[in-house]
């Protein structure tokens, strides 16, 4: 098991390298420079600025220096926020974005799995239709519509939760719901499909014949197999939750990493853009690895190695 994990981790190395090279090329070959959006800067100051960040050197040399720093865990300086390093910005923002995504994930799993199971065990009844229509509505209402509506109703009319900001658990609920609902819809559909795939298997009929209660059949016998499509969807879902939080963070004024990224891409803040892209890519690669291994545990038919 440990050997397998180590091998999979080693396999990540070339992938990460490709991502580093590709994103470096993409960001650096783009027209414009970090200093071009400002007002006319005197040539002298511009030269000094470029020297400070090492932009005066040839690109290959800059790349090698970047890789060197990267190995030391140093992501460089931000050009937009001259007093701050990329490491600092990420250290402040990433935990916030991660918390938001975690709440959204929890919500989507809770609602999605429940709705999916109800839809499947009451197939083709009002329960099923209601759950599946609700799931489709959830998929169809984008976060940037749902978010403002929730603020309007829950915060501004009912005064139940704060409309924006970040601090204690009150602040995390609305953005979490907003971000998670779309995925709850998808998970409900996958879960229902997974349940319906196993509902007619022989081992379920055997369990019924043995007189096992319905509750135990659903949770002990059907659930572990039926959850598999949901598990394989988790990788892409978490990926898009993390990037989707850009919009939600903007709506609820949450100090996560999203707003920084949009600003950084706009202002050609090279090191900040690279840092965030690499962090997310690495995080997602690790996550996909975890999902793969988890899948192997849950489904003995899959050979993980």
């Amino acid at each position: 098991m440990i050997r397998l994990l180590l091998r999979r981790l080693l396999e990540l190395v070339p992938t990460v390298l490709v991502i580093v090279v590709a994103s470096f090329a993409l960001v650096r070959l783009a027209p414009g420079s970090p200093f071009s959006s400002e007002k006319e800067i005197p040539a002298e100051i511009r030269q000094k600025l470029e020297a400070k960040y090492g932009f005066d050197k040839p690109l290959p040399e800059q790349f090698i220096r970047y890789i060197g720093n990267l190995l030391k865990g140093d992501l460089g300086l931000s050009t937009k926020y001259p007093q701050r390093t990329v490491n600092e910005i990420i250290a402040n923002g990433f935990p916030v974005s991660l918390t938001l995504a975690a709440v959204a994930l929890l919500w989507s799993l809770l609602v999605g799995i429940t709705a999916g199971i109800i839809g499947a065990i009451r197939q083709n009844t009002v329960w099923d239709y209601t759950a599946m229509t609700a799931a489709l509505v959830g998929i169809s209402v984008p976060s940037f519509v749902l978010g403002p509506l929730l603020v309007l109703v829950v915060s501004l009319r009912l005064h139940m939760l704060p409309p924006a900001g970040w601090g204690d658990w009150h602040h995390v609920i609305l953005p979490g719901l907003t971000l998670g609902t779309i995925y709850a819809g998808s998970i409900a559909r996958l879960m229902r499909g997974g349940m319906l795939d196993v509902v007619r298997s022989d081992f379920i009929r055997t369990a019924r014949a043995k007189g096992v209660t319905e509750w135990v059949i659903v949770w002990r016998h059907m659930f572990p197999t039926a959850i598999l499509p949901v598990v394989s969807y988790l990788g892409p879902a978490i990926a898009s939750m993390l990037t989707g939080s850009v919009v939600v963070e903007k709506i609820f004024n949450v100090p996560g990493i999203g707003p920084y990224f949009v600003d950084a891409a706009f202002n050609r803040d090279y090191f900040l853009v690279m840092g965030i892209v690499l962090l997310y890519a690495f995080f997602l690669l690790l996550l996909n690895l975890v999902v793969d291994v988890l899948y192997g545990f849950l489904d003995p038919r899959v050979d993980v190695s």
């Binding site: 992938t15 490709v18 991502i19 993409l26 960001v27 783009a30 027209p31 489709l136 509505v137 998929i139 169809s140 209402v141 984008p142 940037f144 519509v145 978010g147 403002p148 509506l149 603020v151 309007l152 501004l156 229902r192 499909g193 319906l196 795939d197 892409p236 990926a239 898009s240 993390l242 990037t243 989707g244 850009v246 919009v247 903007k250 709506i251 990224f261 949009v262 891409a265 706009f266 853009v273 965030i276 892209v277 997310y280 890519a281 997602l284 690669l285 996909n288």
Partner: protein, 301 residues
């Protein structure tokens, strides 16, 4: 010459066998009332988007960009069914115009994605071996990248024009199609008709484009219908962030952003663009589900 003749014949056989698939699918789709209603709504919305703004201008003299600051924001009325926005512009005209942007970007980007994905997947599956592993490895890597971040970088690099927007979305959105097509080609290429074509001297390109891709068409259509709403969503996502369609050209995403900023006082500026956006996505998803169920009855559970 002989090759072409045989090719034609095999195409005829394909189309005979295929037509029954399409006929079956059409029959199944006709029975699906909700898919019909969704389709009808989308057709009406499409017509409304194409001719609505021009119609409003001729009949009432509104367009989607002339400001009337003195008039200001007005609640919905008979004269302005959706009300007017902060600058006194008719919101119905702006929503229709924005929906037109959404629909066209969604369709074109999904088309770009289907085009790239089909060819990529077919080539990868057909050649197999090292080529296949390498090409699929690239897909895996792209899957792992934070997709929306990539689009944001592309949009800020390429500039904010409508054409570049759907190219950027399509350029990143082809992965699913590529995987689906590759999977199908892997099994299709082992079948006898491919062997027959090859033994008659059909080139690799001929086999891929004339024999394999036409046979994957139903799955390509299914992924296409599922890609359209996600492309529309992403365009609106970008416009909401101010990275997509630029003012004064309205887009549903930017209209929703404007509405969200003033929803407490002028609720209609959020509710109508948001409602149209959600209804449109709902209809597209429903129609997509219907088409998927119709074309691939095994997936209906």
């Amino acid at each position: 010459m002989k090759c072409i003749q045989v090719g034609l014949q095999s195409d005829e056989i394909d189309s005979q066998a295929g037509s029954s698939l399409w006929e079956d699918a059409w029959k199944r789709l006709q029975k699906n009332k909700l898919a019909w209603i969704s389709g009808l709504f989308l057709v009406l919305l499409g017509i409304g988007c194409c001719f609505g703004p021009a119609f409003l201008q001729v009949v009432w003299g509104y367009d989607d960009h002339t400001q009337n600051l003195a008039y200001g924001p007005q609640p919905p009325s008979l004269e302005h069914p959706f009300g007017t926005d902060f600058y006194g512009r008719d919101l119905l005209a702006r929503v229709l115009s924005g929906a037109r942007v959404s629909l066209s970007v969604g369709l074109l980007a999904a088309f770009v994605a289907a085009f790239i994905g089909t060819i990529y997947g077919a080539v990868s599956g057909y050649f197999g071996g090292l080529v296949d592993s390498l090409m699929m490895r690239i897909v895996d890597i792209l899957y792992a990248l934070p997709y929306m971040f990539l689009v944001i970088i592309l949009v800020t690099i390429l500039g904010k024009s409508l054409v570049l927007l759907f190219l950027a979305l399509g350029a990143v959105g082809w992965l699913l199609t590529a995987r689906v097509v590759r999977g199908q080609v892997l099994s299709l290429k082992e079948q006898d008709f491919v062997l027959a074509a090859r033994s008659l001297g059909t080139t690799n390109r001929g086999i891929i484009f004339e024999h394999l891709i036409p046979n994957t068409l139903s799955s390509v259509i299914v992924t296409f219908t599922l890609t359209v709403p996600s492309m529309i969503l992403q365009e609106a996502f970008l416009s909401f962030l101010g990275l997509g369609v630029q003012p004064p050209q309205p887009s549903l995403g930017s209209l929703i952003n404007d509405g969200a900023n003033q929803m407490l006082v002028f609720w209609w500026t959020l509710v109508f663009p948001g409602g149209i956006m959600a209804t449109m996505l709902f209809a597209l998803n429903f129609l997509g589900d219907g088409i998927r169920d119709a074309l691939d009855p095994r997936m209906k559970t």
